[in-house]
Each structure stands twice: as C-alpha cells, then as structure tokens.
C-alpha cells in the first residue's frame, strides 16, 4: 500500500465514573490476505495487521488477534467501563513489524 495506515478512534472525551462507553476504531489498511493473485497470476504476498491492542493508563484492557479473514480497513469496536481519568493508547501491529499508534484522553465528570 502506498499510503501509511491512518488510525481513527472515537472515544468520548468526557465520561462519568462507572459509565460504560463504546470505543470504535478504524484504520486504513489493505489487509492483503495472501490468497489473492495479481494480473500475472502471481500470489500477492500477505500483509495484514495481526494484533490490535487497547490500553488504559498503560494497562491492557482489550486485545484482538486478527486473521486474514478480517476485511480491508479493519473496524473494531469494544466497551470500557470508566473508573478514572486517563489516557487510552491504541496499537496496531503489522506483519512487517511496523506499529501504528493512536492516543485519546478521557476526563471524568
């Protein structure tokens, strides 16, 4: 892929303690499955994101292991019960070793 993958995450910026919030994430990535062939009949090498990790204040709260069956531009949503103010860090690990990151702050009201 020509462009570098751009992550986009939607996290509420404010929440009450004990509130259940939904976090939605999207990253632009081809998720090349390794099963497709190009015009010459050659197999296009696999290149997918294999791991999505969400951590809050440094502690991992949710992980997803993706396989080639995950669609291009993978979307992932999950829930989190707010206990304190802090920062979410998101990481996407690529087959080629590169990692894409995003951060979001939550304040408690």
């Amino acid at each position: 892929m020509a462009n570098t993958p751009t992550p986009r995450v939607r996290v509420p910026s404010q929440a009450k303690v004990g509130e259940l919030i939904e976090i939605k994430s999207l990253i632009s990535h081809d998720m090349e499955s390794g099963f497709r062939k190009d015009a010459d009949g050659k197999v296009i090498p696999r290149k997918i994101i294999t791991k999505f990790t969400a951590a809050f204040n440094g502690k991992v709260v949710f992980q997803a292991d993706w396989n080639p069956s995950i669609s291009a531009n993978p979307y992932q949503s999950f829930f989190y019960k707010v206990a304190e103010a802090g920062e979410f860090t998101f990481a996407w690990k690529d087959d080629d070793g590169s990692e894409y990151n995003a951060k979001n702050k939550i304040t408690v009201t």
């Binding site: 499955s33 992980q63 997803a64 069956s69 949503s77 999950f78």
Partner: protein
C-alpha cells in the same frame, strides 16, 4: 453405422472440454477449510473440552450480499467482575481458506464482553463462535450466513 460409435462428435468434444473446465474451476475449492478444520482449531486451543450452548449473542446478517465486508457483532453474557469474566472469544468461519477470523481477549475492565468488526467470507458458510470464561468453561454459538458474492478475490 457401427464405426461411428468410436468417433467423437463435435458436440461430445465440446461437452468434454466443458466438464474438464468445470472440474478445474472447482478444484481450488478443495483447499478451503471445512468443519473439520474448525474442530482441529478448537482442539488445538481447548483440547478435548466440548463447549456448551448458550450465553453468546452472535449478530450477523443472514444474507451477506458482499462477502468482502460482513459485519460481525458478538456479545457474551457475563457480570465481568474480577471473579467471573469472559477471558477470550474466538470466531471461526468454516468455509474460508483459513478458519480463524478473530480472537478477542477481554479483561474485567471492559465492563461488557462485546465487540464488533467486519470480516471477509468466501462463500455461504457457518460462523462458529466460542467463548472462554475465567473459570475455564466454554460456550459456543453458530450461525449460517448466505454469501451472494464471495470475498476472497481470484
């Protein structure tokens, strides 16, 4: 007319070519995963333990027009406390070249064992979802999805 029996008519030759072509077109399907492959994956993860039915809500469209993007939403009933929570949820597709779709790892901090993503489906097939609880018990759910256009590319 006796000798005609051994000569190949043009129609027969065409038919033969057609059948051979079909066989060649179907051959790659043999490489696809099947129910056995999912069972093998489950055995690798959990050994001989058999999952029970229930506790999982598997939300997938019955008919997927585009196999490239099929939304899949799972929700597992659980209080999500430190003592009792959903540890992991695995989603499998028995008609894809590789049966594994996604594995989620939850923590009690999630508050709710629910997650949604989008997957590719090569053909009409079953989706199998297995949840692993913190006490080691297993639950599973199954749903059939009809796929109009497969999503694996040539």
């Amino acid at each position: 007319m006796e000798k005609d029996r051994f000569t190949v008519s043009r129609r027969d030759a065409l038919l033969g070519a057609l059948v051979a072509g079909f066989a060649a077109a179907l051959a790659p399907n043999l490489a696809f995963a099947d129910v056995g492959a999912v069972e093998a994956e489950l055995k690798k993860l959990f050994g001989d333990k058999k999952p029970a039915e229930g506790k999982i809500k598997l939300d997938i469209p019955e008919i997927a027009e585009n196999g490239l993007v099929v939304p899949v939403n799972i929700e597992v009933e659980s209080p999500m406390t430190d003592a009792d929570y959903v540890k992991a949820v695995h989603v499998f597709a028995d008609g894809n070249p590789l049966p594994g779709v996604v594995s989620y790892h939850f923590t009690p901090a999630c508050g709710k064992a629910s997650a949604a993503t989008r997957m590719r489906l090569a053909q009409t097939q079953n989706i199998i979802c297995v949840a692993e609880m913190s006490n080691g018990s297993l639950f599973s759910a199954k749903a059939n999805v009809k796929v109009t256009i497969g999503g694996c590319g040539g």
